[in-house]
């Protein structure tokens, strides 16, 4: 009996999709980068709305994995490039200025449409700091941002959900934790 399972299933994982999109040239090469660029994983909920389930700063261009579920429950994943994300955020921002976006009002439950979710999670990274700051001054925008983003990164960055106030916590790994002079691994064995 044969047990070997092939590499085919890598494509089902997020990393496989990202690699594939880079190999097929869907993603632009790294350019002059801004620190606040983001990698988002956005997932469609049973109610059809979208929620950011993971978020991380990236040194490359911003990009997102969109995980949608169709009526039959089939999950599909696609990669959105920075250009696609910008376009979507821009459209949502225009809707917001016209008072026609979900972001104009208080959140209704968790999640929003895809455009609103992306603008809330990465408005500053995609449209620039000026617009990002303006958005952050809007309290409904901030509430929607919290209701559409479950990622640990967002929660820690926004300072919410912290439970402990103990002052006894300690850090370790002095020199080793802070930096390493070697660019290759010492721990691989």
């Amino acid at each position: 009996m044969k047990h070997i399972i092939s590499a085919k299933n890598i494509m089902l994982g997020t990393t496989g999709i990202v690699v594939l999109s880079v190999l097929s040239g869907c993603q632009s090469a790294p350019q002059e980068q801004e620190k606040q660029n983001k990698f988002l994983v956005v997932e469609q909920q049973p109610n059809g709305k979208y929620v950011v389930i993971d978020e991380a700063p990236t040194t490359g261009p911003s990009h997102a994995i969109i995980r949608s579920t169709d009526a039959n429950g089939t999950v599909t994943e696609r990669v959105m490039s920075e250009a696609e994300l910008k376009n979507m955020a821009d459209q949502e921002y225009k809707k917001m200025q016209e008072g026609k976006s979900e972001l104009n009002s208080e959140p209704h439950g968790e999640g929003m449409g895809l455009g609103g979710t992306i603008l809330a999670a990465a408005g500053g990274a995609l449209l620039g700091n000026m617009i990002g700051n303006a958005l952050m001054n809007n309290s409904n925008f901030r509430k929607n941002q919290d209701s559409s983003n479950r990622s640990a990164y967002h929660r820690s960055a926004s300072g919410g959900m912290n439970s402990s106030t103990s002052s006894e916590k300690k850090s370790f790994f002095g020199n080793k934790g802070a930096s390493s002079t070697s660019s290759s691994s010492s721990y691989g064995g």
């Binding site: 044969k2 047990h3 070997i4 399972i5 092939s6 590499a7 085919k8 299933n9 890598i10 494509m11 089902l12 994982g13 997020t14 990393t15 496989g16 990202v18 690699v19 594939l20 880079v22 190999l23 993603q27 090469a29 790294p30 994983v41 389930i53 993971d54 991380a56 479950r150 990622s151 640990a152 990164y153 820690s156 960055a157 959900m161 912290n162 439970s163 402990s164 106030t165 103990s166 006894e168 916590k169 300690k170 850090s171 370790f172 790994f173 002095g174 080793k176 934790g177 802070a178 930096s179 390493s180 002079t181 070697s182 660019s183 290759s184 691994s185 010492s186 721990y187 691989g188 064995g189």
Partner: protein, 392 residues
Amino acid sequence: MISLQTINPINDNTLEEIGFAWHTDSDESKYVANELVIVTDDEAEAYYEAVNELYDMYATAAQHVIDNNLFFELGIPFNLIDAIKKSWDNDVHWHLYGRFDLAGGIDGKPIKLIEFNADTPTSLFETAILQWALLKHNNMDEERQFNNIYEAISENFRRLVTLFDDPSEFEKHYDGWKILFSSVSGNSEEEQTVRLLQQMAIDAGFETGFEPLGGVKFDEEGIYDSHETPYEYWFKLFPWEDIAIDENELAVLLTTIMNNQKAIILNPAYTLLFQSKGMMKILCDLFPDSPYLLKTSYEPPKGLQCVEKRMFGREGANVKILDAAGNTIEANDGPYGNFKPIYQEYVEFPKDAKGNSYQAGVFFAYEACGLGFRRGGKILNNMSKFVGHILR
């Protein structure tokens, strides 16, 4: 002789774009070979069988060490013995993944265990992602590679919650527990290894965070990121023995956190037992007839060519090849000289036409799940190259 197939390499910019920044070694040579090792289906199947059996043998040997209090013999630091026993006693301390390094298995040579990297294995990105990307880049059939690592580790993340039950039951039982991932800062290989594991955990359905080791906070109530958000799991790409030796206070604190059931640390403390090369001597005692073991002892064997290694040596450092009379034939320096030595019967690695040696690395996550090769000289070290494979 090992058969190789030449392929088109992926250029450095593209490699960096997919997160693989360590493509060039410090001597400016390329780390990833533009060749693939040709492996037959039967050879891949044999690696799979061998590694599953070896893991079972390691589990039996760990129980033997604990029952007979052989920690000192294996060079285990005293301040982690309690953590090792505690983690071994409770299945929630699930072993996420490890990598067996093997000689043989191709070119008609028998598979022999070289060592088990159970605690902090790297080469993960290369084996799980990059060698698959090489197939895609060269329009080769991705079904022809023994590489299910991404899916296997994702599934094993789910087992942190489901344990021995069906991992597809994960959603039913998962209650928002978070995993914090950590590596030393400033080392792209280690950070990317951890980021890849983090992505596998996200795909599995976990909430996750990343914090460089120096930013992680600890108290008796748990483990926190730099914003003091508590986490139920902490994955550290940092050796347990270094925590024991360099960070005694942390070793004690982590044991308390485990005892208080405030957080679970990955890989578990018992992987330090697996990591000790002294285990290979215990394996020889317990399984003298196993075809996968090389004779291993705490004293140089008389009249037998052998390799001297240190209990917790890594990446070929402090390794010596001795001839049958005990003379050194080849030796690597390194920082592990203070650990006790073990002596393992010498075996020649399979070679290619240019005389390069090949060592197989087989990942294990609940079962054997993927194969890659390292290529170098007689002693495989940090300058050895990664070589992907294709099944024929």
